[in-house]
Amino acid sequence: MQLLADIAQGFAALGTLATWLALIAGALLGIVVGVLPGVGPGVMIAILLPFTYGMAPLTGVCLLLGIYCGAFYGGAVTSILVRTPGEASSIMTMLDGHPMARRGEAARALSLAFMSAFAGGIVSAVLLGVAARPLAALASRFGAAETAMAIIIAGICVAFAYRRQFPAAMMMMGLGFFATIIGIDPNSNELRYTFGQTGLLNGLPLVPVAVGLFGAAQALVMLSSPRSAMPQQALGGARLSLAGFREALTHHQAMAKGLGLGTLIGVLPAVGAALSTSLAWFWARRGSRDPQSFGQGNPEGIVAAESANSSNSGGAMITVLALGIPGDAITAIIMGVFIVHGIAPGPSLYTDKPELVNGIFVGLLMLNVLILACLVALVRPLARLAHVDPRQLALGILALSFVGAYTAANSTYYLWIMLAAAVFGWLCARAHLPTIPLILGMVMGDTLEAALRQALTISDGSLAIFVTRPGAALMLAIAVIAAGVALFGLFRARARRANT
């Protein structure tokens, strides 16, 4: 009953023309960025973040969520037709999708992929509606010690997801935490690392940093890297078939495996779609009657990979809405919409703004329907967008980043920050240093500092508060084990290389 009431409230919250237009625009933009070479959803979401300031919070979130979800679908187009996965999570779709396209079954492969992604998106949205509320109720009992530990676990999970880049990811997260403390200390009003610059009094703003790191930096990479040509003929094969849609639903086992893994992994911070698609693909192959044909155009491979890929979307929003902790860069930027509007994401959202939470839940459901409808109507022209010259795209991204960073505060100071972040982002891309942990650190840093200070004030400076409270102790143990496993894995990999 609660679910039905939530759905009804969600529909009522979505009941403005602006929100529906945002859903449609987000869905279309998401598919487009999924198809476009070199432009991921993170780039587009970072660029559009400042433009959501003038919108109602739900409208802004719906626009960005549309891009997030649409890119899951759009990425399959170039993976299947031209063997060019736009995202790491589309690689497993390519393994079976492209061989099918080469033997003239492109319509079947695309239809299988889209229907599987649709099922994944709907299931993960329902999971968001069902699971987020109890999790938020549990989180509402958290004290400062538990909040601090939850953020530390999330941070370590994010770094853990980078596997052998664990130290680099932790370093970048530390840098993100540091970036949040620049400016006036909210507790004691001291000026921290402002060096007499009035612009730094309010701190290092998230928006121009995110726009620079993800938008303008990617434009620098695209403009300065050699281009690869897209085969013209293959993209002409973009069409869909009703039989392909139906067929996706007949591969029950592969779909169930994809949905199960995708939704579970989606909830874990930063583990991400790439791991869930590869695990689902291998699991489906193990249980298949015809495992040899996996990688040569087996429809079960597409169904498992795409259902796992798309079912990450709802899971990733669960931690944002229930705990106030972003799981990846995109949900961190989406969290920026809440922060800009003075809304604190987390357990209190369910009591303070239930219409917003339910609006997001129903918005996710509707987005999947809208995206599938857009693809049915427009798959051919959308596929042709893959031909766009990346240099022209980069020019557009750079110009939009410029406008976006400026409009965040109508200030050229923000433009300088954006440019500095872009150059730093490009340097990191050259050096293969991850920048997503930096943004996550910036989003979580304020809350972590406040929670640590509050917990230690309660305990009068005793660190025992983190081990005497059961919830905090459990989370501390998980954090220590995760960090230990990551560091042990690094040394073991080195020892293995030395032996060989």
């Binding site: 003038g54 790491a88 980078y162 596997r163 130290p167 932790m170 370093m171 530390g174 840098l175 935490f177 540091f178 507790n187 004691s188 001291e190 000026l191 921290r192 690392y193 060096f195 303008a216 990617q218 620098l220 990479v221 403009l223 300065s224 890297s225 790439a274 240099r391 020019l395 750079l398 110009a399 410029f402 406008v403 400026y406 409009t407 109508n410 050229t412 433009l415 300088w416 440019l419 872009a422 150059v423 982002g425 490009w426 990191c428 891309a429 050259r430 050096a431 293969h432 240093l433 991850p434 840093g445 972590l448 500092e449 640590l452 200070r453 230690l456 004030t457 400076g461 690094l490 080195r494």
Partner: protein, 157 residues
């Protein structure tokens, strides 16, 4: 590989210096504050993370570890000269924004960047004009974003 080492070493060096200089760089420094209430408490934790894990990564690379490519943007084949030139053009665009206004600065910067990106002259002019006019129409005319008024127009009377 060398680039990664230099960047990490620079970050570690800056973080270590900031850690040491924290009492000088937080004003006024409350010398009597208890450690967990000090404004330097959390910054030092963050800086310690940077130094500690940066050093682990540096040692790993120094002992023959390889750079591991992440799923994020890859700029291995990127030409630094082009990237630097584009960054300089954007810096000039920001500096000249109050003088030239949004439309002219965006047009000039887009054309210059397109040329640096090796687009043909006509193509660069077309794309530059298209981007500048579209953004000007949407953001300045329609959404009324207040970009600085071009001082050059005043200077020219």
């Amino acid at each position: 590989m060398a680039g990664a080492r230099w960047l990490i070493a620079a970050l570690v060096g800056l973080a270590a210096m900031s850690f040491v200089m924290t009492p000088q760089w937080i004003r006024p420094w409350p010398s009597g504050a208890r450690w967990w209430e000090s404004p330097g408490f959390f910054p030092r934790i963050a800086l310690a993370l940077v130094v500690l894990f940066g050093l682990i990564e540096l040692i790993r690379l120094w002992r023959g570890g390889t750079i591991i490519q992440s799923n994020e943007s890859d700029a291995s084949d990127s030409k630094p000269a082009i990237a630097i030139a584009v960054a300089v053009i954007v810096a000039l665009q920001i500096a000249l924004l109050p003088l030239l206004g949004f439309l002219a600065s965006t047009f000039l910067a887009s054309v210059a960047i397109a040329r640096v990106g090796r687009l043909a002259w006509m193509h660069a002019l077309g794309v530059g004009a298209g981007i500048a006019l579209l953004l000007w129409a949407v953001f300045v005319q329609l959404l009324q974003v207040a970009f600085p008024h071009p001082q050059l127009l005043d200077l020219l009377g």
